[in-house]
């Protein structure tokens, strides 16, 4: 994770004027991504284009444009199984096509990163307008019960930081990680700092160290995250999307199925506090608060500062992890504030989660836009004044 950049390291640090999508690429390369497979779709396309230029120039780097998004995520899973840090980027329609493979990656515990730059929907919707309509799809899009990690970012620097985080979390917990951006964040150009690689803590999957004949691919352990060899490392084992036993072989024995499923959930639950990332602004004494994410959090930030100037004790809880839902942080705000406002560019996909945990503590107000326009600070301020 980003640590403070020391003065003498400043020289190595690069400052660039970058698009959100460009910052995603920088973050991915910093994190050690060496494989990208994708299919073009607005507003995510720049990620593929920049990857196509950058990856062939770095050792081991591979870029491949596949025939569709199903193929893209299939290739990404294959590359990850072969030991590479791998990713793809897409937008709503492509994300929908990827769902079966997201389930496969969850079941097989294959680390990978999917960036979904959300556009207006449903269907082909509004390719160049911002929206936050894929929040619940990111959580529940694929079939079956499974845990998942979903992150978001609200400015260009954060695109970089959260991409690094996405890779770290996916490698640490052997889980697919989805980074949800919106068209505004992806297409905003801002000055960002690209710190030296050494200033980041970069996590890579843990490989087995025991002799191959001792290796049990999906063995229970304290961490719940089994070590992961690459194909060809000498640890031959079976990877399958079917429910499997500790050796990786298909099973429907209730005791084995139960163990696998419980472990998949537990490995995420157990490290919840490492995965939950939120950012608070003026929350200490807040009486009213905004809970927001993505580009809306930027409007909310300004609205909260303006409200403070007017003497309203307002605060902002910005969600950077959307799932697992950062309940403890939200709980605290809900208990502290008389009113909580959840503005978002959908019909209430996150406010649904907030209401779910509210339990009558606070008044939850929603503010929803689905017309392809942003939510302005003024709109949020108005609600803060009334709250």
């Amino acid at each position: 994770m980003p640590t403070k950049v020391k003065k003498n390291q400043r020289k190595e640090e690069r400052a660039i004027f970058a698009l959100g999508n460009e910052a995603v690429v920088e973050g991915a390369l910093l994190a050690g991504c060496s494989f990208f497979a994708g299919y073009p779709i607005t507003p995510s396309t720049e990620i593929a284009e920049i990857m196509a230029e950058r990856l062939p120039g770095i050792p081991e780097g591979v870029f491949i444009q596949m025939e569709d998004e199903i193929a893209s995520l299939g290739a990404v899973i294959g590359a990850s199984l072969a030991g590479r840090k791998s990713m793809t980027a897409t937008s709503g329609p492509g994300f929908s096509l990827m769902q079966e493979h997201i389930g496969y990656a969850s079941m097989t515990e294959t680390p990978l990163v999917i960036v979904n730059v959300m556009r207006g929907g449903p269907s082909t919707g509004m390719p160049t307008s911002p929206a936050q309509g894929d929040v619940q799809q990111a959580r529940w899009g694929t079939h079956g019960d499974h845990p998942i990690i979903v992150l978001s970012a609200s400015d260009v620097q954060e695109c970089l930081d959260m991409t690094v985080r996405a890779f770290n979390l996916s490698e640490k917990y052997r889980s697919p990680v989805i980074l949800l951006l919106d068209e505004i964040t992806a297409h905003t150009r801002e000055k960002i700092h690209i710190p030296d690689r050494e200033t980041y803590e970069i996590f890579s999957r843990i490989k087995p160290t025991m002799p191959p004949e001792w290796f049990v691919p999906y063995e229970e352990s304290m961490r719940g995250v089994p070590p992961m060899p690459a194909l060809g490392d000498g640890y031959r084992f079976h990877v399958t999307g079917l429910t499997h036993d500790v050796n990786g072989y298909p099973t429907s024995r209730p005791d084995e199925v139960e163990k696998l499923m419980q472990r998949l959930f537990r490995k995420i639950d157990q490290f919840f506090y490492d995965i939950q990332i939120v950012e608070e602004t003026a929350c200490e004494d807040a009486e009213v608060a905004v809970i927001a994410y993505g580009c809306v959090a930027r409007s909310a930030h300004l609205a909260v500062l303006q409200a403070r100037e007017k003497g309203i004790k307002a605060g902002l809880l910005k969600l950077k992890t959307l799932f697992p839902f950062p309940r403890p942080a939200v709980d605290r705000i809900i208990r502290q504030c008389r009113t909580v406002i959840v503005p978002e560019l959908n019909m209430g996909q996150m406010s649904r989660e907030v209401k779910r945990v509210n339990d009558g503590h606070s008044r939850i107000r929603t503010l929803n836009r689905i017309d392809g326009q942003i939510i302005t600070p003024a709109e949020i301020l108005k609600l803060l004044q009334k709250a």
């Binding site: 062939p56 596949m66 290739a75 590359a79 496969y104």
Partner: protein
Amino acid sequence: MAEVTQLIHHYLRHNKRFPHVLCPGCGHGIVLGSLVRCVHQLGLSKDEVVLVAGIGCSGRIAVYVDFNTVHTTHGRALTFATGIKMANPKLKVIAVMGDGDALSIGGNHFLHAARRNIGVTALILNNNIYGMTGGQSSSTTAENCYSTTSPYGQQEQSFDIVNLAKAAGAPYVARSTVLHVKLLDRILTTALERPGFNLVEVLTPCHTQFGRKNKFKTNVDMYQWYKKNATPIEALDKLSEAERAKRTPIGIFVEENRPSLEERHAAIKARLTDGAPS
């Protein structure tokens, strides 16, 4: 015999709960046998072989062999194989698919893998039917054949896998049946040795789902039909046109050389890094 037993012990996973899922008389086991023999004959190590399988009866054979094995999603084996090969070109990547798997749901991936010339041996076990889901028609079910979803006879024309692979640009295209084991071993060995995308289609009987619906009384009748019908391309010329039309040609249809995608990528990398080893 001892030699065969040793091979079995070396390549099959003893700790996998046998018996296997295939029906008695299914042709898929013969293909698995051929695959093991070819890998053995080529002296490949088990560690360098990655067997990627789709979903279907054919997809299940991956679990029994002691290679690196990946049982993927229905129709997408070639997409996984593409990622694996590009990530580590040193691996010998084999994709095992059913006809429904490779050409119905996975048809698009098949065409593109051939076009890209990705270094994968595509092994299609063509039984002209969906075995695992209970005998529905696939895109290779011949016109007027019966299946659980074509109770009045198949109304659609079927794909010819060899012709599709040729048209898509595969540099090696070959076909055998499970009855022509020597030919099968030969084309599979060649395919495994060659760089680039190599297609091996194997005609394999599924009596359980196809045979019974299409008036083959026994497994053996089906095998006999395969034997009679499949004709080496070299022998086709000697037949009358009417006779030829009834036969399914087997043998090697395309054998060309062009650089594989991973080789082309490596060339660009060398250029970008001034030939410095990366």
